[in-house]
Point group: C2
Chain length 534, copies 2
């Protein structure tokens, strides 16, 4: 078999030479054009600046995401893409926007506290001042113990945060040794990021549903969690609930670690600490136009009913401007198709860019696309299952394939920050790995030479992989993604490196173009066995 | 001469062995007691927590400094020190406290801007909202060009800040190579930190005096500078003026770099950017009790009229809690004398701890002490000279020595952050260097082994050195002092490392005790020639 021979060739070569799959075609003339366009006429930083500086945060369900959808759609159309459209992924939930937030310690001395509210938590209805109390609220007994004692307080929800002396750099690039390690599989070991602890999440969700009404009823002014971010950086996501009618609890903020710790230590010393807080938010009813995916196409020629897809997610968290998470991926995918149009590339298969909404709430946009067009399982009728976030629900029956299942050749995703591409995760697809090795060859000089059989998780390619359609995520430089920008108030334009983005767009463009023009569809791995129902 | 022989001995030994001055006495029994007390019964982090967490910022002229003065005085007395007292260094200027500060972009989208007002700038008189304008205001022509165009605006004063990918660690410790380099002098080269550009400072001060009334008259709501701090960190000092009657201009804030840059880029793109700002401050008339030095003594025995001094500065900037700058130095000096009392040390000379006020405004506290007690030059009567900050004024006549000039054996200062001591600057005093080499020997295992002939500047030992009294500053680990904490909103307790502080206090205690018990006064270097008058 051709694919087997590619694999063998790759395996033999990999010890000493870059693994080139000898019979996988690489169109170096095409690569030349892409590298020329991407080097000399790049528009990627302009795209990024509009998404981040101008449009700002793009929280799913809120007007910022609609604005981003409208702009990206029209921008893609202006570059000559066809069928540019937004597609609602509603029902999602309430619209939420942060209008104002400030918090300061006013006694025993003043400190402007760097703190930001969690999404979907309410405002304080003006400036409120309260005594600060720390209460561990993790069990029913805790709730009983504190009953009647929390009226008008600012409630610390965490013990002191662990802070450290930063003797390692915030930002790093992969070393050759680290990339080499990434290439090697250890069977039986966990691959990619550790899986989420579903039981723990379910338990927290269940307790959160109890605790929010409790806190409201007790008259707590606001709650504060300690961020693992230091130096004024805050990692903050959602709280309360985006589902209409669900209790949100009081205003809930997250604070940079050292400031939190100062307040916490004073409480521990039995000092009277007072904090003034003002949070204003805008909750709105669901507007289906605020939760969406964006699509646009470069139509194919002789194989135009087959599709190669690429994308990133358009939605972001609210505290920064979602620059590395994931305006970067959106801009890279947009620049890739812009370049392919600009160089006059005529794909055999149709190229479809997808900019997803709702990724941060559980890959909602890509799952919506997959379930409507590619493959789906029956909806659960069990109320307990429906209560869980969609990504946690157990399968309810066999996968029903839909028309596009056999037509999507592959999907390429970029969602690991603002660093350049160092390679790609082949998701346990040996045939894919061999092809990638060939396609990476003309980008070795730009630092991209690693393919790994490993799987990686946590973003939209997973939705494709889960139904047996080849979906891939690139390996990117770690940079300061998990130390400074991922879901933080500092995830803004300055955290993006121009050269890295230019490189990523070229590689994305080349991978997509080569997938579009292969003689055959992209090879698939065996479907995963049907998981057991609950 | 004994001192010469010490020096020769030191020079011969220094190439291969730790330089031990063979005939400089080191009391290892005393060192043992200090190390035992400092290791097993340290109180330094408790002292630091009171200074930072409880008392908070200690801006000169403001109640925080008085509070710190009262507490340190009574704490030193409670440890058995004598003559604990605060001494006013008034006239200083107005009292200023930050009560409230928040700033957010409200259009084209919302971003909570991490920004803090400069000290001695006014509030905004409630919440104000204005269009953001960038104007370069550096010359008279600039002022004329913008006249009438700045009413009700939020004014950006800087171009975009340079931000970078943080591929080097924020915090570092000295390597052996770096310490070795620090040991070597290059004659003719600048030593220590580069000197301040006095002409530039004078020019800025002169223009600032023009610009503040201009900005007020034009009706600017607030000005914003870009901080060199990133990730939510802000470096911020003073603005306006602490001198009663001088114009302050409007509210003046400093913003973390990436947030500033987002606003700046939008302006460059001709977007309408609106910012909402609220700053409330408390200006007060001068209260002499708010600008002070603190002193306390362990009286000497047979040489009690001679004095060895140690200290750090008690005042701080306002945005954080002045933890590394310089609660660290204060706590180290306090812990040093606490330990000497606790172990029952009976000094021959009197040990006097000094905690200075007004250091940040030009070593005001130590200069006040020196000019009143040690040596002084006549006050200038030239109004142009009086207009300059005191540290910039040219000498007006010969130095007149006062009673303590011949009585202060040496002064030891610690004011380079929260890191441990790696050695000491000998300030071009070869005799001192040889003695220090001997005294450092029992602390080599704790990382302190470097003495250098180099001078260092920018803190209170300079006031002593300037009049010919031996004044020294220790070499400390760089840590994240100049990257994260020095004059920032993140200069708080968590940035201090306990083990480092314990070590520094032991070495400070040992140096002071050995200075107190030497047979002779500490050797002096030749007096600097009288500088030319202007």
């Amino acid at each position: 078999m051709r694919l087997m021979s590619l694999l063998v060739c790759s395996l033999i070569a990999s010890a000493t030479l870059p693994a080139i799959a000898a019979d996988e075609k690489v169109d170096l003339a095409l690569v030349n054009k892409i590298r020329d366009e991407g080097t000399n006429r790049s528009k990627i930083m302009e795209t990024l600046s509009v998404l981040t500086d101008e449009i700002g945060p793009r929280l799913t369900g809120a007007p910022g995401l609609r604005k981003a959808g409208d702009w990206t759609k029209s921008q893609l159309a202006s570059w000559g893409l066809q069928n540019a459209q937004t597609v609602s992924i509603a029902p999602f939930g309430r619209s939420w926007e942060l209008e104002k937030s400030s918090m300061r310690m006013v006694a025993p001395s003043t400190l402007e506290l760097v703190a930001i509210p969690k999404a979907w938590t309410p405002g304080t209805d003006g400036v409120k001042r309260g005594k600060v109390v720390y209460a561990k609220l993790e069990t029913e007994e805790d709730l009983a113990k504190w009953k009647g004692k929390l009226k008008g307080v600012i409630l610390l929800r965490d013990p002191a945060a662990a802070t450290k002396l930063h003797t390692t750099p915030d930002a790093k690039r992969y070393t050759d040794d680290e990339l080499h390690e990434l290439e090697n599989m250890e069977l039986g070991a966990a691959t990619g990021r550790p899986p989420m602890d579903m039981a723990d999440i379910a338990k927290r969700l269940a307790f959160a549903k109890k605790i929010n009404p409790y806190l409201t009823e007790e008259g707590v002014i606001a709650t504060v969690n300690a961020s693992r971010g230091e130096d004024g950086t805050i990692f903050v996501q959602g709280g309360g609930s985006y589902k209409a009618g669900e209790p949100t609890g009081p205003a809930a903020l997250v604070m940079t670690a050292e400031h939190y710790n100062r307040v916490f230590r004073l409480i521990e010393k039995k000092k009277d600490v007072e904090v003034e807080v003002e949070v204003a938010v805008k909750f709105g009813d669901e507007d289906p136009a605020n939760s969406l995916n964006v699509f646009a196409e470069i139509p194919g020629t002789d194989k135009k009913d087959e599709i190669v897809m690429l994308g990133g997610h358009l939605d972001s968290w609210h505290a920064g401007t979602g620059a590395t998470d994931n305006a970067a991926g959106v801009a890279v995918a947009m620049e890739a198709v812009r370049m392919l149009k600009a160089i006059g590339f005529k794909p055999r298969r149709t190229i479809r860019i997808a900019l997803w909404g709702g990724e941060e709430q559980g890959l909602l946009g890509s799952r919506d696309f997959i379930s409507k067009n590619v493959a789906a399982r029956p909806e659960s009728t069990d109320p307990k299952e429906k209560d869980l976030p969609s990504f946690m629900r157990r399968p309810t029956g066999p996968l029903a394939l839909k028309p596009l299942h056999g037509k999507i050749s592959a999907y390429f995703n970029l969602d690991n920050g603002g660093g350049k591409i160092r390679g790609i995760y082949a998701e346990n697809n040996a045939a894919a790995k061999a092809i990638f090795d060939a396609w990476l060859a003309p980008f070795h000089d730009l630092g991209a030479k690693t393919s790994t059989m490993k799987k990686t998780g946590s973003t939209d390619h997973v939705s494709f992989d889960a139904v047996g359609v080849p979906g891939f995520q690139f390996i990117q430089e770690p940079m300061d993604y998990f130390t400074r920008t991922h879901h933080t108030n500092i995830d803004v334009f300055d955290k993006i490196q121009k050269g890295d983005m230019m490189q990523a767009a070229m590689i994305m463009a080349s991978f997509v173009a080569h997938t579009a023009n292969r003689d055959e569809m992209f090879p698939r791995k065996p479907m995963a066995p049907e998981p057991a129902a609950r």
